[in-house]
């Protein structure tokens, strides 16, 4: 067994050597631009890209004409959400998503909200200038808005109705187990809703959402459904028909392909339209200009083909390892909680809170093992994981969480090594934890007024 051990397969995955082999010819020998239509160099590159497109489409039950290559899932999420909002702006401006989504979705939504509010502020300033007959600065907005009763201003209301930039966003909270509340989703849809964006599987807690049900609701209500499928595609069965998904974000580096290449599935029947974010040479049917990353795309295709062939057996093997890890830890240690549903979960994910010890301290004690923590200490902010907080996990338990991510190259030997190491680390840290001592003495920790700093 080689150290350090990689158990952080949600952050990225090593490239499968077979993927590297497939890519190799496309750097030096077959270096053509897939958009060069007039010579062999271009044709070879184009053929390679088209093969990859088919391989990827086959993995998700799509047609190759529905695949748009991008630089990764961050871009795919941006393109899906901003592209729909822009294209369907005359239909509506409301998006529904969840508080547990990846930042590439959440921050995109935040920007759209901001843009709309900024536009409305501009209109208010304009209206106030009319009403006061003088120049009005943004600092005066709040005061003058009240004084001039803009709340009930009919003209301003008409202007705001005509705003076509940005969006309004509903962020649904998950249930305690991380799953979406389908009734809440149904209730949140309005006649202004154009898009629902809910991820297939969560990157922290591995919880798998009932996308088929979500897709059915969206179809019934005539709303587009986007899913960030990054963590699930290639790991669990997923196809765009069962999910009734209109837009799907995928990235190669989470499925044993190269970094910096991703895709957005855009449904053709019924036709889904998006506005491009990046303009230029009109590549990818105008939806994403820019010379294609041929080698990367070839690798993505190869990774997709391997995943399609091996997903079933691999999923079983990996969930076996995950269950072994959980069985070992819960046998050796008390006061553990799994965050998120164990049942609706990616095979390779285990997210555990080790009560009374802090996540980063655990990671430091097991420094030969690469895992990740929901503790604030691992991020620049001092807030613990927003995903765990959204589930209603107490802050101290969020600080105590460790995410284990198992994958294609994980072994039982590694799992056993990690069980032993984590057990010793948690025991040692609990021995030096004042909280553990107090809890063992029967002190109710919730009753204490801490000197928060």
């Amino acid at each position: 067994m080689k150290l350090p051990i990689f158990m952080d397969y949600h952050s990225t995955t090593p490239m499968d050597p077979r993927v590297l082999e497939a890519m190799k010819p496309y750097f030096v020998e077959e270096f053509g631009n897939a958009a060069s239509r007039n010579h062999k160099f271009g044709w070879t590159a184009e053929a390679a890209v088209e093969k990859a497109r088919k391989q990827l489409a086959a993995l998700i039950g799509a047609s190759e004409k529905e695949i748009v290559f991008t630089s990764g899932a961050t871009e795919s999420n941006n393109l899906a959400i901003k592209g729909v909002v822009e294209f369907y702006k005359d239909k509506g401006d409301h998006i529904i998503t969840m508080t547990t989504e990846h930042k590439a979705v959440l921050d995109t939504c935040k920007r759209l909200e901001r843009q709309r509010l900024d536009r409305i502020d501009e209109l208010k300033l304009q209206r106030l200038m009319e009403l006061t007959g003088r120049d009005v600065t943004p600092d005066e907005l709040a005061t003058l808005e009240i004084k001039h009763g803009l709340e009930n201003d009919a003209l301003l209301k008409r202007w705001i109705d005509k705003v076509r930039v940005g969006a309004r966003v509903t962020y649904l909270s998950p249930k305690k187990d991380g799953l979406i509340d389908l009734d809440a989703l149904r209730a949140a849809i309005t006649d202004k809703t154009v898009l629902v964006s809910v991820m297939l599987a969560n990157n922290e807690i591995g919880v798998v959402q009932p996308v088929a049900e979500i897709g059915a609701i969206c179809r019934e209500k005539g709303v587009l459904f986007h899913t960030d499928a990054v963590q699930g595609v290639g790991k669990i069965p997923f196809d765009v028909e069962t999910a009734k998904a209109d837009l799907v974000s995928i990235t190669a580096h989470k499925m044993y392909g190269p970094k910096g290449v991703g895709a957005l599935y855009v449904r053709r029947k019924p036709r889904v339209r998006i506005a491009a974010l990046i303009d230029g040479g009109g590549h990818e049917r105008g939806m994403r200009s820019g010379t294609l990353n041929v080698a990367g795309i070839v690798g993505f295709g190869a990774a997709a083909e391997i995943a399609r062939a091996e997903l079933g057996a691999e999923g079983q093997r990996i969930s076996g390892l995950r269950d072994r890890l959980w069985a070992g830890l819960s046998k050796n240690l008390d006061l553990l909680t799994v965050n998120g549903s164990l049942e609706h979960r990616l095979p390779g994910n285990l997210n555990v809170s080790f009560a009374y010890v802090e996540g980063e301290a655990v990671m430091m004690a097991i420094k030969d093992v690469a895992v990740s923590s929901g503790s604030a200490c691992t991020s620049a902010s001092l807030e613990p994981s927003y995903v765990l907080r959204a589930l209603g996990v107490d802050e101290d338990m969020a600080h105590s969480s460790i995410r284990f991510g198992l994958g294609r190259f994980s072994t039982a030997e590694e799992v056993d090594f990690v069980i032993d190491l984590v057990t010793r680390a948690v025991k040692k840290l609990r021995d030096m934890s004042p909280l553990y001592e107090m809890a063992k003495e029967g002190i109710d920790l919730k009753s204490i007024a801490w000197t928060a700093h």
Binding site: E360, A361, M364, A376, C377, L382, E395, M432, H453
Partner: protein, 144 residues
């Protein structure tokens, strides 16, 4: 984030982990931080009647830097007078451990822990002295 060698050293071989009897009149206990913020430090100092820190024990819930900061101050205060111990600043702790900016709060907590432990000791002593003064009064028989 990479840890400094000193943080790793204190984390792996933490000094003075443990518990002193908090009922002992010579023991001051400082408990600072909050579990919700991800760190909680308990520093206990055994202080002689002439004001010298004879022993120090800590328990800390927190990241490696918080544990290292606690371990470091538990070493530093030993043998110092209460007045000297009070002068230890978070800057010195952060400098000694080469803490990066995001970890400065760990050193602040360690400084606060010293001050809180000393304050607890002084309050205990003041209470004891006050009791010593009022004690005889309590013994005067009640007026019939």
């Amino acid at each position: 984030m990479a840890y400094s060698e000193k943080v790793i050293e204190h984390y792996e071989n933490s000094r003075n982990v443990g518990t002193l009897d908090k009922e002992d009149p010579n023991v001051g206990t400082g408990l600072v931080g909050a579990p919700a913020c991800g760190d909680l430090m308990r520093l206990q100092l055994k202080i002689s009647d002439d004001g010298i820190v004879q022993d120090a024990k800590f328990k800390t819930y927190g990241c490696g830097s918080a544990i290292a900061s606690s371990s470091l101050v538990s070493e530093w205060v030993k043998g110092k007078s209460v007045d000297e111990a009070q002068t230890i600043t978070n800057k010195e702790i952060a400098r000694e451990l080469s803490l990066p900016p995001v970890k400065i709060h760990c050193s602040v907590l360690a400084e606060d822990a010293i001050k809180a432990a000393i304050k607890d000791f002084q309050e205990k002593r003041a209470k004891r002295q006050a009791q010593a003064v009022v004690a005889p009064k309590a013994e005067t028989p009640a007026q019939p």
